[in-house]
């Protein structure tokens, strides 16, 4: 069954057709990749699914509910959680605290609960602290837990963002170019983590510029170019597809366009 259904999704910015009539179905439990050259409209597509941009036309359905034009936090509350191409860490908070913020949806209690600190609230806080440590352990940042998040090297900031997103208990995790700026060692570590969390049952939609990473770990791949989905298939099919090779390496036609 498809967890995410995208129908004729279109976005125009004053005459620029950023996305046109994209159709996509992502099966529950899959590790799905979207690739495309720079400027292909990947991030626009991603921002519409996660509610950060309103589509010009088309619909997005998540777990049977229409989420087109829904507010970002409500989309997240439904289990569709994203990361950012430009990491959006909470500066001035420690690495552990960043993950603790991620537990917002999984916990409850506002001002009154925080002042009263009844037994259930203290238990919940202790639970959040412990689980944040577990997640940091999972992505390999346990030793940096108390460090200021801004001081982490770039590659680890990305891992922290993944850990934080996992705290929100996603059904579908959207990763926006998670390997951008990582060296090959860091990319390998990231690939392993993505595969592990997918094995735990989390559906992953991976948007990447790095074709090698996506063809290695994704089960199915869609290719965007000039705002349109040009093809979709298994990694092997994609690697051999003439349109994909053309989009990435350029043909005479593409060069003139």
């Amino acid at each position: 069954m498809a967890l995410l259904k995208v129908r004729d999704l279109t976005k125009r910015f004053d005459g620029l057709q950023a996305n046109s009539e994209i159709n996509l179905e992502i099966p529950e439990g899959s590790l799905f990749g979207v690739i495309g050259p720079n400027g292909a409209g990947k991030t626009t597509f991603f921002n519409m699914i996660s509610g950060f941009l309103q589509p010009t036309a088309g619909t997005i359905e998540f777990a049977g509910t229409d989420i087109t034009n829904m507010r970002q936090d409500k989309i997240a509350a439904m289990g569709l959680v994203r990361t950012f191409q430009l990491v959006q860490l909470f500066k001035g908070m420690s690495v552990a605290e960043n993950v603790e913020v991620g537990f917002h949806l999984a916990t409850r209690g506002g001002v009154a609960a925080a002042v009263a600190r009844l037994a259930w609230f203290r238990r919940q806080e202790a639970d959040v602290h412990a689980k944040a440590r577990e997640l940091l352990d999972f992505v390999g940042l346990a030793d940096q837990a108390e460090q200021d998040a801004e001081l982490l090297p770039y590659g680890q900031q990305r891992l922290l963002e993944v850990a934080r997103a996992l705290a929100a208990r996603p059904r579908l995790l959207l990763l926006d170019e998670p390997a951008a700026g990582l060296n090959s060692h860091e990319t390998d570590a990231l690939a392993k983590i993505i595969q592990q969390l997918n094995a735990q049952g989390i559906t992953v939609l991976l948007i990447e510029h790095d074709v090698a990473l996506v063809t290695r770990i994704a089960q199915r791949i869609a290719v965007l170019d000039f705002g349109c989905k040009i093809t979709e298939g298994t990694p092997d099919e994609i690697k051999r597809h003439p349109d994909v090779i053309a989009a990435y390496l350029g043909t005479d036609e593409a060069a003139h366009a």
Partner: protein, 334 residues
Amino acid sequence: MRSNRTMTSRAITFNKLGDYGYIAIGGAICIALLFGLVFIQGGYLVTVLQLAMIYGIFCVGLNFFMGYTGQASFGQNAFAAIGGYGTAIFCVQYNWQPILALLVSMGIAGVAALVVGYPTLRLRGHYLAMATFALGLITYDISVQWTSLTQGYMGYSGIPPLGIGPFTVEDERMKLLCLIAVLLFGLWISHRLRDSRFGRALRAISTSEPGAAALGIRVSHYKLVAFIIAALYASASGSLFAHVVGFISPEVFGLQMVVVTFTMLYVGGIGTVLGPAIGAIIASLLPELFRSTGRFQDIAYAAVLLLLLIFMPKGLSALAEIGRSRVPRRSAEG
């Protein structure tokens, strides 16, 4: 390199178990000594500290909105005016109990913050700053023009002191003690909220609204709640001012208040729990320290503030952090 890193992080975790920097302990002792001395000596400095406590309460509240949540408000004096005038009108015109007047005024300020904040908080950055600034100016104009309610420039005098039933707080030292208690209560709440689900959401919003929203935090809702909390503190400080000084006028809650409280917030350390209170005490005492310099008082005051902000951009409360990082390093080496 690698082993070095694990050493420090372990040391910091160890340190988190509960020792504070030497400077923090030293600072606490200094403040305690100061209050003790003023208490014994009495007189003018008691009044200075009373006002410091009142401003401190205001700043602890403002810190929720400007520090934790990272939003700008230049109009929080409006809510202090609601508190001050509410108390004055209820107590002088209608003979209400001070506590009741204070609580009802806080309620009015809270509702006002909700009504004003709901549309205003859609704005960001400079626009939000301008809108809140206008709020302060409008409130000032109302307090001057609506003479049938506010008595205009004359203001209200003869506001009764704090008290419950037959017990009233008339002694200046007792007033100071009451204010210290209220400020500590305000700090206690701030401390409890900062490290909680609620506080973490506010602090997340302060550095990345998209990041917070992507994790399911309702950004506009949390900003509004922080704004209302700040308004409640501001209103309480306005009411306390009315009771302690016994007199209010539009000038009390004018632009001056915005400037003074901003100074306090930044000198003490914005976004920290204790910073606003420390800033309020320091910024209130500094002018008194330079009183003997006569006409150079303002210049000396400004110079010291500038130096503080240049050399301690994170505020005085950041000094405690310096003390803190020294402790683990020594224990890690030893």
